[in-house]
């Protein structure tokens, strides 16, 4: 692997950047692997990387039915934060945020991580009271969080409608300064390149069509490019988790829904932070290219249609133009949808399963992107040692039968 550096950039400039080596190979699948990862998005690629890097297991294949990062990794709004209410969530997501902070160096790849700060807005006195409780919970867990007044918010977000007669009148909020945005494709490519360099086979256009289970153990994987023998399978397929788990005879408490995002035409820098509002479920940031990146809540019914329904689009955009009246003059450039897995308590499931050698990472809901580093690291540990990583012990599949829900949706008022 050729290192990405200023020196090499200059060296390749001499040949017009035509001689950069490929970032990863395109190998044919081997008949047998120690571990097979299903899903070549951020989570699957990160799992393969940490298996090779931290667990010393390099005979690993990542099977992707389409192209790398072509699912939800390439469709999301690329926000990282760790401002959760429950310690189980905060510990996990804070670990993930720290990984984001060093990812550029760790993987020798510019993921363009900009810690622009993540601001949550409260639109009523009651919401502000809940915010103070939430912010205190974050602070006592040792995570940065700053409560902000109306005036401070007006200065930080000049385009926000601060009129006392606004439809959504701002009462205050809190900011996590270390939260930010990054380049989502780069995160997938960084893990792919680093994993490939450690010997992992990344196999694209290879759809898993069945799982072979015998005597309660995983025996192999059937794919569109032939059968592969393996004793361990890690599943990291957002959206289709229930379908893949069903191949191993496992039912998951997951409902698939569509989550939309959209971008405006590019404009000059005008919006410095990621600004969210749990009550009206709309969040906005500005990308490095100048587009305003807009997201909201998931569509309100089960769906596998990767497009998004108009009533949700309209609700999100209504909130955007109420909060930022100047944005009503912008043209919307693109709108799209991805299918997310939502668990009953809006928390992820990273877990062993009743089938020996079958491990799952699912239920990431509307916020799996920020979990990519920690999700990959903990799933790799769980696969390698056949016991859960301490960070994901609270997120096991059997928590539902045991009544140990981590109900972040109820605590923080937003989905993960």
């Amino acid at each position: 692997m050729e290192k990405y550096s200023g020196f090499n950039l200059l060296k390749h400039a001499l040949t017009g950047h035509r001689r950069w080596p490929r970032s990863w190979r395109s190998p044919e699948p081997k008949p047998r692997y120690d571990v097979v990862i299903i899903g070549g998005g951020g989570h699957g690629l990160a799992t393969a990387y940490y298996l090779a890097k931290e667990q010393g297991i390099t005979n690993v294949a990542v099977l992707e039915k389409g192209w790398l990062g072509g699912g939800n990794t390439g469709r999301n709004t690329a926000v990282s934060r760790s401002n959760y209410f429950y310690p189980e969530s905060t510990r996990f997501f804070e670990h993930s945020l720290k990984r984001f902070e060093t990812m550029g160096r760790d993987l020798n790849y510019n993921i363009m991580f900009s810690q622009v700060g993540l601001l949550n807005l409260a639109f009523s006195r009651h919401e502000l009271e809940i915010f103070r409780r939430w912010a205190t919970a974050i602070q006592v867990q040792g995570v940065d969080c700053q409560v902000m007044s109306r005036d401070e918010i007006a200065a930080a977000v000049p385009l926000l409608n601060m009129s006392p007669h606004a439809r959504y009148r701002v009462y205050g909020g809190f900011m996590q300064r270390r939260g930010g945005i990054s380049r989502h494709d780069a995160v997938a490519w960084a893990y792919a390149r680093a994993a490939d360099n450690l010997g992992v086979d990344i196999i694209q256009n290879c759809e898993v069509t069945g799982l072979e289970v015998g005597d309660g153990r995983i025996r192999g994987v059937k794919t569109s490019r032939g059968a592969i023998r393996t004793d361990k399978v890690g599943m990291a397929v957002a959206g289709h988790s229930t379908a893949v788990a069903a191949m191993a005879g496992i039912k998951l408490p997951i409902v698939s829904q569509c989550l939309q995002a959209m971008v405006s035409e590019p404009v000059k820098p005008c919006f410095d932070h990621v600004v969210m509002s749990p009550m009206v479920h709309c969040y906005v940031s500005q990308s490095d290219r100048g587009e305003l990146v807009i997201g909201g809540g998931a569509d309100t019914h089960p769906s596998y249609g990767q497009r998004g329904n108009l009533p949700t689009t309209e609700a999100v955009l209504n909130a955007v133009v109420e909060m930022y009246p100047t944005f009503s003059r912008l043209k919307l450039m693109r709108q799209w949808g991805g299918i997310v897995d939502i668990a009953p308590d809006s928390s992820p499931i990273v877990s062993k399963t009743p089938v020996t050698g079958f491990y799952i990472s699912t239920g990431w809901g509307t916020g799996g992107y920020k979990a990519i580093p920690a999700g990959g690291e903990t799933l790799a540990h769980t696969i390698a040692h056949d016991r859960p990583h301490p960070l994901v012990e609270p997120f096991s599949l059997d928590r539902f039968a045991q009544g140990r829900l981590v109900d972040e949706g109820a605590a923080a008022g937003v989905a993960h």
Partner: protein
């Protein structure tokens, strides 16, 4: 946008309705007698099919009545609308 034929009010826009998730879930007859695992299945386990889904909807901004819908989760096409007390229509049968 989905157009839903409310059994009481006729065809209306999706925006007037609330989806209540999977329908025809049967509560265990004797909750004290079932295991934790069975109870969790009842509370949390859902079908989540890619295709035909039998689900409850409520006409929230209309008559406020609950009813059942058989809908495709990929195309969002509604195959049948039937009342809460009606039996689940067979896949491929009349209206489904």
């Amino acid at each position: 946008m989905i157009r839903i034929e409310c059994p009481w009010c006729g065809p209306r826009s999706e925006a007037e309705f609330t989806c209540g998730g999977q329908s025809h879930i049967v509560r265990p007859a004797d909750p004290a007698a079932v295991s934790d695992r069975e109870w969790a299945q009842y509370l949390y386990q859902r079908d989540n099919p890619k295709g035909l889904h039998y689900e409850r909807w409520r006409h929230t901004f209309g008559c406020r009545q609950w009813f059942n819908v058989a809908r495709d989760t990929v195309t969002h096409e509604i195959r049948a609308v039937y009342r809460m007390t009606d039996l689940k229509p067979a896949p491929g049968g009349e209206g489904v």
